[in-house]
């Protein structure tokens, strides 16, 4: 049924859209290896990998990357543990108020950070918590819990009940069934949640911008924004800094891409 013409049209689409999607990415990578100025010399046959070291030093990325790693780790661990627990309860147990409570969590998926960031800043400043990892991480833990609870509930609702029931007859408690039986089976769903939460947290901009006014807890994307303020005309160093900031998530994406795509697609489709 498929004509030769249709197949060539398909390949044309694949090529054109791939080029459009990749062009900005390739151009920034290329600029990152360009000459950073007259003092940078000829480089390695015109290629300047030393830009990455220069951008890292001048942009204080040691501090910003460390902050990003700490914030992301905290958010991923807290949000995933809380989401698995809550999702398990909503997905497998019957209890009073479960409907209302679950809708309350669903609401959180829609609340934009813009609405909560202003009161959060002034209230946390009152408590002396701004410029700490808690002010940067906890609002993001809460956002990820809203999605994560929904995601894990969907998983547990569709998961195989008979194994849990068998373990239960053996006398295992709910916590034991969850930890020893369900979590090992749920690994793909949990990995998806981990990579999504990691990506959202690493790339987040508004919350760390507002919550760290002194710059002490500035994360990598903010480092790039402030780097731009100083080096906007130096395309090579800007390119190198931009590549450094994007690299961790892109690297994880290239290895675990099916989890990313599955999570973004299935996480959005309502059940």
């Amino acid at each position: 049924m498929t004509s030769r013409r249709e197949i060539s049209v398909n390949y044309l689409i694949l090529v054109v859209f791939s080029v459009v999607a990749l062009w900005p990415v390739i151009s920034i990578v290329v600029s990152a290896f360009g000459s950073a100025g007259p003092e940078s010399g000829g480089g390695l046959m015109g290629i300047h990998p030393e830009n990455f070291a220069t951008a890292w030093d001048q942009g204080q990325f040691t501090q910003y990357m460390r902050n990003s790693v700490m914030v992301s780790s905290l958010v991923v661990v807290l949000a995933v543990v809380c989401s698995v627990l809550a999702g398990y309860a909503f997905g497998t147990m019957t209890f009073r108020g479960s409907g209302v409570l679950f809708y309350l969590f669903l609401l959180g998926i829609m609340v934009p950070a813009e609405a909560i960031v202003v009161p959060l800043f002034f209230d946390l400043r009152q408590l002396g918590l701004t410029d700490t990892i808690w002010a940067v991480a906890m609002p993001q833990v809460a956002q990820s819990i809203a999605f994560g609870t929904y995601w894990m509930r969907t998983y547990f609702r569709s998961s195989n009940r008979s194994i849990s029931e068998a373990a239960r007859i053996d006398g295992a408690s709910s916590a034991q069934v969850l930890w020893h039986v369900q979590v090992p089976i749920a690994r793909p769903a949990i990995v998806t949640l981990v990579v999504l939460v990691f990506m959202w947290t690493w790339n987040e901009f508004l919350i760390p911008l507002v919550m760290s006014p002194s710059g002490q807890m500035r994360t990598a994307p903010l480092g790039l924004a402030f780097f731009q303020g100083q080096y906007s005309t130096n395309t090579a160093l800007m390119g190198a800094a931009a590549v450094l900031v994007a690299l961790p998530v892109v690297a994880v994406y290239l290895v675990l891409q099916r989890y990313f795509i599955r999570g973004m697609i299935e996480g959005a489709v309502k059940d």
Partner: protein, 311 residues
């Protein structure tokens, strides 16, 4: 393996659990203990601040002198202040670029790709989804280069003989907003296309065969079979991309800061600018609440329409 590790812990389970609702197989309070950690964090860092934002929006507060209760005056001001109102108009223009344009393009390419199986689809999916995972600040840096006077957009225009059109796109009163919008189109098109491809992949082949036996060509098949079958995916795509458009902050912060003039201000940027640059906390909270209501409303509307057309 799983069952052996479960039976090893049997003793502890018996001792630890006295009350157990026979019908559910778990204690009455067990589900609440499981939900407690998630709910406490969620309530403290989203629900409570949301209530506080609603409260703030009823006050005039400059962060220094005491707050003054003004009722709904901030909301009246929001409706009457031209700059603030325009930021919402700009957000609606961005919806065209973030949602409508990617959906139109995505529908066409997904439908065409779905008609004939070709090799390289996995690679294609990986590539067109890539813009979704790159930090928006990095996307902004890359596109600022492309839009600059010596960037590739102007070089491309030169190449096809439209050199007189070249300009600093992000510094242009008329073109800055569409230029920012097209960055949004670039980010969202891959996501929308992959969503639609997944939906179209589930359509049974015999539906197309039946349609083509009835004499329907490719275009008729698209409207009669493909489009109705992916209604759910379209609703999801619209929800995700419209919300993304309304929450554009990083991109504006990095590329135009609302300029030139106020030509690219958006509500998200106004929240930040009013609260932390001008010290107008009441106004900022009002914009935040208005944005939340708008997002809830759009979600509700899309779901309603999608549900209705499904029946």
């Amino acid at each position: 393996m799983a069952s052996s590790s479960a039976s090893k812990t049997v003793g502890a389970g018996r001792r630890g659990r006295v009350r157990r609702a026979a019908s559910h197989g778990h204690g009455v309070l067990t589900p609440y203990f499981f939900i407690l950690p998630a709910f406490s964090i969620y309530a403290a860092f989203i629900l409570y601040p949301l209530v506080r934002a609603a409260q703030f929006s009823l006050f005039s507060w400059d962060t220094v002198s005491p707050a003054v209760f003004v009722g709904f005056q901030n909301y009246v001001d929001l409706a009457q202040n031209e700059d603030l109102r325009n930021s919402f108009v700009h957000a609606f223009i961005l919806i065209f670029f973030y949602a409508i344009l990617p959906l139109s393009v995505g529908l066409v390419i997904a439908a065409v790709l779905n008609r004939a199986k070709v090799r390289g689809m996995t690679f294609f999916r990986t590539v067109i989804f890539l813009p979704q995972v790159i930090a928006m600040v990095v996307v902004a840096v890359a596109w600022s280069r492309l839009y600059s006077t010596d960037g590739s957009i102007n070089a491309l225009l030169d190449l096809i003989g439209l050199g007189s059109w070249s300009r600093a796109w992000l510094g242009d009163y008329l073109f800055a907003l569409p230029a920012v919008g097209l960055i949004g189109s670039w980010v969202e098109t891959g996501l929308v296309t992959i969503l639609l491809l997944a939906g179209m992949g589930r359509i049974a082949k015999d539906q197309y065969e039946a349609a083509s036996l009835d004499g329907a060509g490719a275009v008729r098949q698209f409207f009669a079979v493909t489009l109705p079958s992916v209604r759910g995916e379209i609703a999801v795509a619209l929800t995700l991309t419209i919300v993304a458009a309304l929450k554009t902050f990083d991109l504006i912060y990095m590329t135009t800061r609302g300029g030139p003039g106020t030509s690219t201000t958006v509500p998200s940027y106004q929240v930040y600018y009013q609260a932390f640059q001008l010290g107008q906390v009441g106004t900022a909270s009002t914009i935040g609440i208005a944005l939340t209501v708008l997002i809830f409303g759009i979600n509700l509307l899309i779901n309603r329409v999608a549900d209705k057309t499904t029946q």
